[in-house]
């Protein structure tokens, strides 16, 4: 066995993966204060995956759910959790995105490019300052997940391991369901940048 090329290839793979991970480091979560709401900002966050994009370009609505968790330290149990949903659709004629925050409270914007739609969605995720202690440090975790969009073929049944296999093989266009998580902190309400 020629060991040197094998070792070299292994390191090349490691370097490539390290670069990939490094790109993940760029996704930082920031917070700013606007009135009685803390708004989130993550300019580098691109959560719309290639699969989700394909679904959107097929004219179908895609929903992402976001869960904001507030904790006292980076790894402690969240004290406050808030869930939001952002609904994306893609205008097949104008080739622009529309994003709606469905709950809590509805708001929407259209004629956006993909980056702007994602940014607007993240910016619409807010934390009421009433749920935060003014002088205590806190961490914010943002989990996101593309909601399942089911494409069915039958009626009543039960999900089994084999059923899952069937779904994998039979719904290859319908399975994109990516998750991700960002964390930022420590923040203090009194030190947050005001809009």
């Amino acid at each position: 066995m020629n060991r040197r090329p094998l070792v070299f290839r292994f390191f090349v793979v490691l370097v490539v993966l390290a670069i990939c991970v490094r790109s993940g480091y760029g996704q930082t979560l920031k917070a700013r204060l606007d009135g009685d709401q803390v708004h989130l900002d993550s300019p580098d966050l691109h959560f719309i995956s290639a699969d989700a994009r394909q679904v959107l370009h097929d004219g179908v609505t895609v929903t992402y759910s976001f869960r904001i968790s507030i904790s006292a330290s980076k790894y402690s149990v969240p004290a406050v959790s808030i869930t939001y949903h952002c609904v994306f659709s893609y205008d097949i004629w104008e080739e622009r995105y529309k994003v709606s925050r469905s709950e809590p409270g509805a708001r929407s914007a259209s004629h956006l490019n993909e980056d702007a739609a994602q940014k607007l969605c993240v910016e619409s995720l807010t934390i009421p300052t009433a749920s935060l202690t003014p002088d205590s440090a806190f961490w914010i975790s943002l989990e996101y997940r593309m909601e399942d969009r089911q494409v069915s073929s039958s009626g009543e049944d039960q999900r089994t391991w084999l059923g899952a296999v069937v779904e994998i093989f039979s719904q290859r266009k319908e399975k994109p369901q990516l998750t991700g998580m960002l964390q930022g902190g420590p923040f203090r309400l009194s030190e947050l940048r005001r809009r």
């Binding site: 949903h85 659709s89 004629w93």
Partner: protein
């Protein structure tokens, strides 16, 4: 919907005011959102009279008002588009149904476009009903109703000749004219094996499972109708958690929320129980039922796990796998393993194991194994030079009954016998016995959760003794101590493992210690270090992981009583199951070694 129409109207007003300044000539007048034929002839005439005239926003607004009066459930707005020439304009009366619904989760920006055609691809026309076909075609001329498309897709999938045979998805494409779209339903035939078995129950060893696909899985569109907890008295849960669980009822199914509450539930019921989540369709269409299954965990673990999947360039592939799918107590492993011992064995290992014999304190197992054994030339050469050691054998057969007693979920002891028969090569093929009494003590703290940090520490001691009292040809005593400390915080993980061993007497080769495989002294080759193994052992492994990337340092020594112990080190990096181990201060015959271990 109202928002959209309002925005459309605003845009129309702006456009109108801009165009009014230049008094552009109306080139064409169109209606979008409803078929033009549904308007009265008088209104249609009035619209066409705008053609060729300078654009008059007031006249256009009057026509929009007349459209609204003829379609009471709609809102009409005037939209102007650039014409073929700069001085010309095209006027479109955009008509939308005023459903009064706010922009919700089903809002789709393409709902502003008119459906030009509805097609079904991949499914022959004779496989679905005329009624459904007609229903689909009724969408033509209307503005896209995303909910209706979803309903029709479900109906198509549920057609008798398509159910369990096809999956159906939908997509939208641009139409032949601007502002028009084509709705396409795409059917895809399932692989034959699934079509043949869907919806049928297959019995296996008394159990059953249902093979099928479909809409059993609720989606985020469904409303939670009930949240149940099974296997645990909910009265023992905190009021806060109970309230949060109940608060899910009536809301949309939210997987993140379900998982969050599962974690909280797990924290409250402690490690003596495991919590699993099941989400299923509810009793009514559009509803979901969430169940948290809380199951009491046995105190004793399964002890007969011999599975190995590994590759070492100088030791070959090891694949020894296990199964206990149909009857939990029955295990069966088979394959070949050249990683664990000095020998490479191939064969099977089967038996029965009960982790709870009426009580969680008591367990028992009986294991039967038969292996053919292959030796490396380095081992055979060294054995030839040391005739006082137990020799090589061709076959190894073993019966091992044992019982286990758990004090609690953290610690247990075992006691048993190993009746091993060895088909020895030298001086001629003959059978010898290695009959052992065995005992062990195990402690495992399990994962101690502190916030998002979990810590585990474990220790064990194992003793095996071959004795004449059990009619053994080999007389020896083998001790082994193991310790583990592991910490996980977020995506970071650290692990420290330490083990040591000592053998007195003359043990058979399968009991001798070795180092230099895919888990110990990674990068070294055990056949270079000590081809026949040793009777003394010490090894320390330190690992750090970030996600799937790891770094490790191994230190260890294996030697025989009366010989000097040589400390050897290795370090390396890991990527999931892949690792590159680099021996430290080794001779020219060794170097970085690529390893795989699952």
């Amino acid at each position: 919907m109202k928002t959209r129409v309002f925005l459309g109207m605003c845009a129309a007003m702006i456009c109108t005011s801009l165009w009014a300044q230049t008094a552009a000539t109306v080139e064409k007048v169109e209606v979008s959102g409803i078929p033009e034929q549904t308007l009265s002839s008088g209104l249609r005439d009035a619209m066409q009279k705008l053609t060729g005239q300078p654009f008059d926003s007031q006249a256009a607004e009057e026509i929009a008002s007349r459209i609204q009066s003829e379609h009471a459930d709609s809102i009409a707005a005037v939209k102007t588009l650039p014409g073929a020439q700069p001085s010309r304009v095209k006027v479109v009366f955009v008509v939308a149904r005023s459903s009064g619904e706010p922009d919700g989760s089903d809002s789709n920006v393409n709902s502003q476009y008119t459906v030009e055609s509805v097609e079904v691809k991949g499914i022959k026309r004779n496989l679905y009903s005329d009624a459904l076909y007609d229903e689909m075609q009724k969408m033509i001329g209307q503005m896209l109703d995303n909910k209706l498309v979803e309903v029709l897709r479900k109906k198509l999938a549920a057609e008798p000749l398509l159910k369990n045979q096809y999956t159906v998805s939908q997509k939208i494409e641009r139409g032949s004219q601007p502002q028009h779209i084509r709705v396409i339903f795409e059917g895809e035939k399932l692989p034959w094996v699934f079509r043949a078995t869907l919806g049928k129950v297959i019995k296996v060893n008394g159990g059953s499972f249902n093979i099928s696909v479909g809409n059993s899985t609720p989606t985020d569109k469904d409303i939670v109708e009930a949240v149940d907890i099974t296997g645990f008295n909910t009265g023992s849960l905190s009021a806060g958690l109970r309230d949060e669980l109940n608060a899910m009822v009536g809301k949309r199914l939210d997987t993140l929320e379900i998982n969050h509450l599962r974690d909280r539930l797990q924290t409250e019921v402690k490690g003596d129980y495991s919590v699993n989540t099941k989400s299923a369709k509810g009793s009514k269409d559009g509803t979901a039922h969430v169940t948290y299954d809380v199951a009491r965990q046995p105190w004793l673990p399964f002890r007969n796990d011999t599975s190995v999947f590994a590759y070492h360039p100088k030791q070959g592939v090891s694949a020894f796998c296990c199964g206990s799918e149909f009857i939990k107590a029955l295990f069966l492993s088979l394959g070949t393993d050249g990683d664990t011992l000095i020998e490479r064995y191939k064969g099977y290992d089967t038996g029965l194991e009960f982790v709870s014999l009426g009580t969680r304190h008591l367990g028992a197992s009986i294991e039967v194994s038969t292996y053919g054994v292959i030796w490396k030339s380095q081992t055979l050469n060294l054995l030839a030079a040391q005739p006082n050691l137990a020799g090589a054998y061709r076959t190894r057969q073993n019966i091992a009954p044992s019982v286990a007693f758990a004090f609690n979920r953290f610690s247990y002891v075992t006691a048993g016998m190993n009746f091993t028969e060895l088909h020895m090569y030298e001086p001629e093929l003959h059978w010898q016995s290695a009959h052992e009494a065995t005992g062990s003590f195990h402690f495992d703290s399990k994962n101690i959760q502190k916030g998002k940090t979990s810590i585990q520490y474990a220790a064990s001691y194992d003793i095996r003794s071959g004795t004449k009292a059990l009619d053994s040809d080999f007389v020896y005593t083998r001790h082994r101590w193991d310790a583990l400390y592991s910490i996980k915080s977020g995506r970071h993980k650290g692990k420290l493992t330490l083990f040591a061993g000592r053998i007195t007497g003359n043990p058979p080769l399968f009991e001798r210690f070795s180092l230099g495989n895919t888990t110990t002294l990674r990068g070294w080759n055990k056949y270079d270090l000590d081809p026949i193994g040793g009777t003394r052992l010490a090894h320390l492994s330190t690992e750090y992981w970030y996600r799937v990337f790891g770094f490790f340092v191994n230190t260890g020594m294996v030697w025989d009583d009366g010989q000097p112990a040589v400390v050897r080190n290795s370090l390396g990096v890991s990527l999931g199951p892949l690792a590159l181990g680099v021996p430290v201060k080794c001779s020219q015959s060794c170097g970085p070694t690529f390893l795989i271990r699952f």
